[in-house]
């Protein structure tokens, strides 16, 4: 892995020169609204500070509303009109380690085990990810207790570390990243390498809050615990929409268009059947589903928890439900 030091100005210049061939996307500071990923006209609009974006980078891969195809009905005949997939190449900069790991988990859903989702995979193929290591995890962060780290580069092509206000240390992870940034900056000397490695170790310790995930949740499926912890839940879509790993969707017909829109297990009508029956009639079943999908079902299917500890559901929950507290306090009885 090549490690280099690069001036902020040089990085921005490179991004601006790449704007001819790439769509450049990164976090912007929208002041009283927070930080949001947007398409940038110039790298100068970038916000590469310590704050976290409200929405994760997921929306550029699994769109909140994806137009899948058109249906036609002409002269008594049905036909489908396929849409061409976008091929504009993109660079997304400022992606945090937890979000990048979220994409690795989504890859399992949309790109492995027999099913290949071309919309998602096309978005993955046409994107170069420049990660940004976290220098100041906040009280909601808990990536380290879910096999993550605020300085890891899994799922990225390049990762940058802020060094003061005017410089970045850049680590090139993949060949894609090398093509774009290979020619930039000064290679670190041995002393610089050592101090960078030390700094990384130190930053890992910054994520303090912990979550303890029980081995299996099956034994407490029917427990009254779920009613207790879901009482304050509003059944809104904030935690699922802002989650870098939640990926449930609804297929919607609008005139001739078929759309795929975000949906979430918290919504009361998510599971309503055509007959009118709702197998998850109350908050208890819906909230339990979210926890079980993340910490039981996904683990069974893919061997990992469907949570990267980014803390968005905690930061933005309007009634301060804390998934760490809920999962850690699960009253599991050991069945042997």
């Amino acid at each position: 892995m090549t490690q280099k030091i690069i001036a902020k100005e040089e990085l921005y210049k490179q991004l601006n020169s790449l704007a001819k061939d790439f769509e450049i996307i990164g976090p912007k500071d929208l002041f009283n609204k927070g930080f949001f990923y947007e398409r940038l006209d110039s790298a100068q609009e970038l916000y590469l500070g310590e704050g976290f974006t409200t929405e994760p980078v997921k929306k550029f891969f699994l769109s909140p509303s994806e137009w899948l195809f058109n249906c036609q009905y002409n002269n008594g005949k049905n036909s489908l009109e396929e849409l061409s997939l976008p091929d504009k190449k993109r660079i997304i900069i400022g992606v945090r380690p937890c979000e990048a790991r979220g994409l690795i988990l989504l890859d399992q859903v949309f790109g492995s085990q027999g099913y290949k989702d071309e919309f998602y995979l096309n978005n993955r193929r046409r994107t170069i990810i420049i990660g940004l290591a976290c220098a100041k995890p906040d009280a909601a962060c808990f990536c380290t207790s879910l096999a993550g780290s605020p300085v890891e580069s899994r799922g990225m092509d390049v990762i940058i570390f802020a060094k003061g206000d005017e410089e970045f240390i850049l680590e090139i992870v993949t060949d894609k990243g090398k093509e774009i940034f290979g020619a930039l900056g000064q290679v670190l000397n041995e002393t610089e390498k050592e101090s960078h490695a030390l700094e990384k170790e130190k930053n890992k310790e910054l994520v303090i809050p912990k979550i303890k995930v029980p081995e299996s949740l099956c034994s407490i499926f029917e427990d009254a615990y779920w009613q207790e912890v879901s009482r304050a839940c509003l059944d809104c879509g904030i935690c699922t929409f802002l989650c870098p790993t939640c990926h449930c969707f609804d297929l919607v017909d609008e005139q001739r268009k078929k759309l795929r829109c975000y949906d979430g297990c918290a919504f009361a009508d998510f599971t309503v059947e055509a007959s009118g029956v709702n197998p998850r009639p109350t908050k208890k079943e819906r909230y339990r589903q979210r926890v079980f999908h993340k910490f039981e079902y996904f683990k069974k299917n893919f061997g990992e928890n469907l949570c990267v500890g980014c803390g968005r559901c905690i930061r933005h929950c309007p009634v301060k439900i804390d998934i760490r507290e809920v999962v850690t306090n699960i009253p599991v009885t050991e069945n042997k």
Binding site: L234, C236, I238, F241, L242, E254, C261, Y262, P318, V319
Partner: protein, 283 residues
């Protein structure tokens, strides 16, 4: 105040006057508050009251309709209870309202007090069964604060600019429906946004769908919104939802001299008719 609150809650549960108290407890971060649901006398010590108690707990009352419930209500929250009672969503005899005089709650997204608190006469609680008075009134409500100043600023824009302003704001809506879910007065059994046959507006989080959703919700709250500001607080996209509701509130106040939730004796806004109501729009 917290001590008095805990004692009252304990007494209510002990005498079986209520089976549940909906109040506030400290959240795990040690600073903020979160809603809590207490049904045991021994748990009443969890209850707290301070400026971090931002939530409008009346939103939860509909879930417990038919059961005896005690609820802690600030001035703004009690106004939504008034509207819910007027609209026959709750029964007065099922409720025990513990009114708390409020010094204003914190602004979770900024600094200082929430915008809504600045013009609030916080001691003016229209409905309660037991009142907990503020003993250390350190902040007087700013009676001279012009609560409609931001509205006047938007009104001063020409139509097209105003349209652009709201387009810009609604563009960022992610359709999480937190505004609807947190609103004590959004209680339709089947929300217009969830209907599919017919589908009234786009489910997609695009500008047309978002515009229709937000405007529909605002119009549905006309004459009903009591400005608890919970929608704006919950909105992860930072849309100034209060401003659209305040505009309607202002129009209704100016045209019909009606203020939602102010008085439990009055009828709901759309059930009121006065001969003096303006009618110059009828040609």
């Amino acid at each position: 105040m917290t001590e008095e609150l805990r004692n009252k809650a304990k007494e209510l549960l002990k005498n079986k006057q209520v089976e549940l108290i909906i109040g506030y407890q400290r959240s795990p971060d040690g600073i903020c508050a979160k809603p809590c649901f207490i049904d045991k006398e021994t748990d009443t010590d969890l209850l707290i009251w301070d400026t971090y108690c931002v939530y409008n707990l009346s939103n939860y009352l509909k879930e417990y309709a038919g059961r005896k419930v005690g609820v802690i209500a600030k001035a703004c929250d009690s106004k939504s209870i008034v509207v819910l009672l007027q609209e026959n969503q709750l029964k007065r005899q099922d409720l025990f309202i513990i009114g708390v005089e409020c010094r204003g709650v914190v602004d979770e997204k900024g600094a200082g007090f929430a915008q809504k608190c600045k013009s609030c006469l916080s001691s003016n609680i229209p409905i309660y069964d037991y009142l907990i008075k503020e003993r250390e009134q350190t902040r007087k409500p700013l009676e001279d604060d012009d609560e409609y100043e931001p509205i006047r600023k938007i009104e001063a824009k020409v139509l097209l600019e105003r349209f652009k302003f709201w387009q810009q704001e609604f563009k960022s809506c992610i359709r999480c429906y937190a505004c609807r879910q947190i609103c004590p007065l959004c209680y339709c059994p089947k929300c217009v946004a969830d209907q599919t046959q017919p589908s009234w507006f786009s489910k997609a989080a695009n500008l047309t769908g978002n515009f229709s959703w937000n405007v529909t919700r605002a119009m549905h709250l006309a004459g009903r919104c009591i400005d608890c500001g919970e929608c704006e607080r919950a909105c992860p996209a930072g849309i100034p939802l209060r401003e659209i509701n305040k505009k309607i509130e202002k129009d209704i106040k100016e045209l019909f001299k009606y203020q939602a939730g102010a008085n439990q004796e009055q009828k709901p806004f759309f059930a009121c008719f006065e001969k003096s109501d303006p009618e110059d729009w009828i040609k």
